[in-house]
Subunit: 216 residues, 2 copies
């Protein structure tokens, strides 16, 4: 058994390829070369071939890739052949937003457990799900064997809640909390730090744009 490490960036690109392949399939396209695909993605054709080659040989020399077969393979590789249950912790502004956001469901990710520590929220129904207290995190997630968590709590309690999620058996967390959090090696922590992203935009404007839209 060889242990070729697959770059994180490759996995990210794979799901971008997949999105594009779904569109192509809908348009009735049967096959395409890595060169044509790369143009759509705005990438280099060698990169497309190399990304795919990490997982096997999916192309046909002289012809290219069959769209439908490739789409199928990418879904399998990414683990999208099955749906996933997701546990959301934190029902503040962002958490509430996420639970009513339909985008996750469409991709096969179902928020099926919601936790908050506010007694005023516990017991309420949100999008058909009863909100539970944080003391229920470990038993409920364990029982239902949920593997994905979404962390949308205040920064101060983030590490404590994250540890509970990990204890409960979650192995992948989508983290919206702007804080330096630690997880065991085996757990994947995917950070979505909106304030960092905005600051990057601020930097860009400051460096490249003429000053304007000042707000006091």
């Amino acid at each position: 058994m060889k242990a070729i490490k697959i770059p994180e960036k490759t996995v990210t690109r794979l799901s971008i390829y997949l999105r594009c392949l779904e569109e192509l399939e809908n348009d009735g396209v049967v096959s395409m070369s890595s060169k044509e695909l790369a143009e759509r993605f705005g990438l280099n054709s060698a990169q497309v071939r190399k990304d795919l080659a990490y997982f096997g040989q999916f192309g046909v020399r002289g012809l290219g890739y069959y769209i439908s077969a490739l789409r199928n393979n990418l879904e399998r590789i990414l683990g999208l052949k099955q749906g996933w249950e997701v546990a959301l912790v934190g029902l503040g502004n962002l958490g509430s937003a996420l639970i009513s956001y339909k985008g996750f469901q469409e991709k096969g990710f179902t928020i099926s457990a919601v936790f908050d520590q506010d007694p005023a929220k516990i017991g309420r129904q949100v999008e058909g799900i009863q909100v539970m207290g944080t003391s229920r995190i470990v038993p409920v997630i364990r029982k239902r064997k949920i593997r994905i968590g979404i962390l949308a709590v205040p920064a101060a309690s983030a590490q404590a809640v994250l540890s509970l999620l990990v204890e409960a058996g979650v192995t992948a967390v989508l983290n919206f909390v702007p804080a330096q959090l630690t997880v065991p090696e085996s757990v994947k922590l995917q950070n979505v730090d909106l304030s960092v992203l905005l600051k990057t935009l601020s930097y860009h404007i400051t460096r490249t744009g003429r000053p304007s839209a000042r707000k006091t």
Copy 2:
């Protein structure tokens, strides 16, 4: 004038450093070495020094960095000494979520214009802001000199709306739409593709975890 290109990753790390410095300052810490700082960030000390060195000499040899002065410098570099107005386009699930999310405001980013193409939404007040039709994007953003846009519309209309934002003079866009969009060189498009992030998690579980939590 020299044109040293500053890596995107450096800018991202700068805003992570800033968050940590704010905490340290609140704790009354006066100074710290790059080694100690790097430990907090989970990074290499040489990287911290190099990231900072792109922008000037902020340290004191033999001592380290004064927390307060460094925080101040990073705020200046990132363009956070001023507040920024932000235009939000798309008042669906995610857009509604974002407008009530208080996290942006706290960091000095104020959503001050909201657009949607749905006649049922136009004219309504949301968080004290009157929703405008998409035909108002160009005149309103131009008039108010807004430089940052948030894109939260359906994929099908994303490119058209994005082009309007660019036409209106926006130079930085936080994009939540999972689609391949194009902007002029001068415009910074920051993608936040939640479904890609979830698929990365799915991949991680599939590769590393035991199968479980199957949803049909």
